[in-house]
């Protein structure tokens, strides 16, 4: 832009300098005329301000001290005298020369240097500017740094920014929220407004800003770039920017809430210690004691979450991984399991001893152990895709053996599941796929005759559903022949001819041992072994199997498998003196049981707006002893059906390390495993699905009696 406006500037400067000459001459006659001094200053000021912009840096530099001297004169700190007028006139000529010459790289000549020297001395002689109490902000170049340059692998820093704009900030045309847009452009931003100073509506001035903000910014930009965002408002706002500890991927865990609050100066360390000793959630305690306000707490919590997230992102990066033998991983999980159990004992013991110091340690350890547990468990999660790929080969080999054209479609290969579960799913899935190909899909000729594409499709899909993974194997084959299934079941003595079965129950017959519906036994699906094995394996995984079939359109087998076999969140309950754990993932609510609930003869209890069936666990597990008063109902949700489980007492949450009961107990219906409690005793884990399955039978029985 220089060249384009250089000439304009030159003309303008010539004009100004001509004008300046007149002013100076007039000033010589009336040295006290402030208006003249002002005019002289303005002329020099304009030239100085513009010169640098159009490539006349030399003229700009030359003018600097002259401007200072004139500024001193107009503010009364220096008198205008003949000598000054003299110097100014000479300077004026010099500026004219400097602007006329085009070479700004050349050195100042001796005369220019001498003049500059004189002005510098003269400016120094002037009385100092009266210091304002409020020091003006050091002028900075108002550069707004562009979003952080994409430097490779630059360390991220986190800044805590407290920003409380002046109440009249809007009157300066400042768009406060825009500042946050700018911050957000620098990196990852979490902001929480503090609205505690917003007055009630009747006394609220809509043109005032009552809100302050606490933000956390994680960015690769330096603190100056962050400060620059607030450059126009920092002089009249409360602004505090603190750099927090550098985040690096392998730093220790997220910051404690207490640390953050102390660090922010919101809480004194001694208050923190006292609050921690009360053994409750720190935040609640501090708010209750009015040590912190709710908004201070909220913003600290946001900071905590932000830092945790930032840390996670940082560590995501270009993820590096190492191979660990699965044995070591299993050992780790076993050890974590032991640790969880020991931790439960510690917690229990510390409660018994009632030592607050010990309790606070136990609670902190509890959080650490929970994190360690989640971490160890996540290490064992693998995408199911690797298993899916094995099935491609199975399908390929089998389809050529059977003379059928088959496409295998897989969905949700990225679904993660515990490694052990994946391993144990392999055989059942092979069985199911073999069955689909062998019995489900028709020959190409039959398919063509039925108006279907000659190539059959087997769809293998996995998806998460709460604490479970649902895996389905579907085909677009002929579907299952219910009549043939029933006939075969009768023939095999599994079913008596007069039994009335629902369609769903009839389909489940295929999972009975020794059942085969194939018209001719083939080498592929074997001799009726298979589906019963599938069911047994899925049961032992704590999962469930269901079948759907539509004649002519195909069938699908759906497996519902728990995500992990090792550690779950559980709800500990008691029936007489026996302890049981319900998986928390299925628990929906706990409520008091009234005797009218449990003895109204309907086996139904009111829950919200519904009547739901209930089962007395005391009855179900044949627990000896009389039922006490004041029992509880735990509402569980299984397969979208709610049932109530009547128990004597709900003890509370329990980190449940699942231990298998072993094959000896495979008849123990309604149990999916065991766990060791804090006091060392064993509690049994309730298989809510199994119990839910028993409901229709019971209802039938109840109706019959």
């Amino acid at each position: 832009m220089n060249e384009k406006f250089k000439e304009t500037f030159r003309e303008e400067a010539e004009e100004l300098l001509g004008h300046l000459e007149d002013i100076l001459l007039e000033l010589e006659e009336r040295p006290g005329d402030l208006e003249l001094v002002n005019a002289a200053f303005r002329a020099i000021h304009t030239i100085k301000g513009s010169a640098g912009m159009f490539g006349f840096e030399k003229a700009g530099r030359f003018t600097h001290d002259l401007e200072s001297v004139l500024d001193a004169c107009r503010s009364g700190r220096k008198d205008v005298d003949k000598h000054l007028i003299d110097l100014s006139l000479r300077a004026r000529d010099k500026i004219k020369a400097l602007i006329a010459e085009d070479d700004s790289s050349a050195q100042f000549d001796a005369e220019a240097l001498a003049l500059m020297e004189e002005f510098r001395d003269s400016a120094a002689e002037a009385k100092p500017v009266e210091q304002r109490i409020e020091e003006p902000p050091a002028p900075k170049s108002a550069t707004v740094k562009e979003a952080p340059r994409a430097k490779t692998k630059e360390a991220l820093r986190s800044y805590r920014i407290h920003f409380e704009p002046a109440r009249d900030v809007f009157h300066n045309g400042t768009r406060v929220l825009k500042l946050f847009d700018e911050l957000a452009a620098l990196g990852q931003l979490s902001s929480i407004p503090d609205v505690s100073r917003v007055p009630p509506l009747e006394s609220l001035d809509p043109e005032s800003c009552y809100v302050s903000w606490n933000s956390i910014l994680t960015t690769s930009a330096d603190i100056d770039a962050v400060k620059d965002v607030f450059i126009f408002v920092e002089s009249d706002s409360k602004l505090r920017i603190d750099q927090l500890d550098t985040i690096d991927g392998d730093d220790s865990g997220p910051r404690k809430l207490g640390e953050i609050l102390v660090d922010r100066g919101v809480v004194k360390p001694e208050d923190l210690g006292e609050a921690l000793r009360s053994q409750r959630r720190l935040g609640e305690v501090l708010v209750e004691r009015k040590v912190v306000t709710d908004s201070e707490l909220q913003s600290a919590l946001v900071e905590q979450a932000h830092l945790k997230q930032a840390q996670e992102r940082q560590s995501e990066g270009p993820s590096s991984s190492i191979r660990v033998s699965s044995d070591k991983l299993d050992q780790l999980v076993d050890l974590v399991g032991e640790l969880v159990t020991m931790q439960a004992r510690l917690l229990r013991t510390s409660t018994d001893i009632a030592d607050t110091g010990l309790s606070s340690i136990a609670e902190q350890l509890d959080r650490l152990v929970a994190q360690l547990r989640d971490n160890a468990m996540s290490m064992r999660m693998l995408p199911i895709g690797s298993t899916f790929n094995k099935f491609r080969r199975v399908v390929r080999d089998l389809s050529s053996e059977l003379g059928k054209d088959v496409d295998l479609v897989t969905v949700g290969a990225e679904t993660e599941l515990d490694k052990t579960v994946i391993e144990r799913l392999n055989d059942p899935l092979v069985h199911i796929i073999r069955n689909s190909l062998d019995h489900g899909l028709e020959s190409p000729a039959d398919r063509t005759a039925a108006g279907k594409p000659s190539t059959g499709t087997v769809r293998l899909a996995a998806e998460h559903s709460g604490a479970n993974v649902v895996i389905s194997v579907s085909d677009d084959g002929r579907g299952m022949n219910l009549t043939a299934i029933k006939a075969k079941a009768v023939e095999r003595g599994i079913l008596s001819p007069q039994d009335q079965l629902s369609e769903a129950d009839a389909l489940m017959l295929i999972f009975r041992p020794g059942f085969s519906t194939a018209q001719n036994v083939t080498s592929v699906s074997g001799r009726g072994v298979g589906m019963d094995v599938v069911k047994r394996e899925i049961d032992s995984l704590g999962g469930s199997v269901s079948v759907e079939s539509k004649a002519g359109a195909g069938s699908s087998i759906v497996l519902k498998i728990p995500l992990t076999l090792a550690i779950i969140e559980g709800l500990l309950i008691r029936v007489a003196d026996e302890y049981f754990v319900l998986p928390l993932s299925v628990v929906e609510a706990c409520m008091e049981a009234t005797s009218s609930d449990t003895s109204n003869g309907t086996h139904l209890v009111r829950y919200r707006d519904d009547m739901i069936p209930f089962i007395d666990l005391k009855e179900y597990f044949a627990v000896p002893g009389a039922a006490p008063d004041g029992r509880q109902i735990v509402v569980v949700n299984v397969h979208d059906n709610r049932i109530g489980l009547v128990v004597d007492a709900v003890i509370g949450d329990n980190q449940t390390v699942i231990k298998p009961l072993g094959r000896m107990f495979r008849d123990a219906v309604g149990l999916s495993g065991a766990t060791i409690l804090g006091d060392g005793r064993v509690a049994l884990i309730v298989d809510c699905m199994k119990i839910a399955d028993s409901i229709p039978e019971r209802e039938q029985k109840a109706r019959a009696s």
């Binding site: 032991e338 008849d667 123990a668 060791i676």
Partner: protein, 159 residues
């Protein structure tokens, strides 16, 4: 079911009621005072429940119930002999209840008799042999057979 023949070696003897029994010492892990047993509902009747053994959950089996007798009392100085055994092809650890645990004895080949002489209560197939120790007959128990699942086909695949 063929009865396995007991080998000479070291045996741990114990009592069930007033009768003496023995199991090979190498299958015994440890003998415990009977700990807190958690009952497992709906299981086979000789399975009294489970205990926490070194952080694992192991079954507690009651041989007397297997032989058709009364259950062993859990609060009256009974013991649990923790054993390694085979169960359906797997190595498992079980806790076997006993009324009393006696001693470890060496049993020579000459002391082992094949033909068991005992009351009608114990079925022959649980017996691996009979040893004459100090003028007393001790039944060497075949733990695998004793605690094997009865008629597995009946129970499999419950829908």
């Amino acid at each position: 079911m063929a009865t396995r023949r007991a080998e000479p070696g070291r045996y741990l003897s114990f009592t069930l009621g007033d009768e003496a029994f023995a199991v090979p010492v190498e299958s015994v892990e440890v003998v415990l005072e009977t700990p807190l047993v958690t009952r497992v509902p709906n299981a086979e009747s000789h399975l009294r429940g489970v205990i926490n053994f070194r952080g694992s959950v192991i079954p507690i089996v009651d041989p007397r119930l297997r032989f058709g007798g009364d259950p062993i009392g859990l609060e009256e100085g009974s013991s649990v002999i923790v054993l390694q055994m085979h169960y359906e092809g797997d190595d498992v650890v079980v806790g076997m209840l006993a009324d009393g645990v006696r001693e470890v004895v060496d049993v020579g080949a000459s002391e082992i008799e094949n033909a068991p002489k005992m009351g009608a209560r114990e079925s022959l197939e649980y017996v691996a042999g009979v040893a004459r120790i100090g003028g007393e007959f001790v039944v060497i128990l075949d733990v695998e057979t004793t605690f094997a699942r009865l008629a597995p086909a009946e129970c499999a695949g419950v829908v």
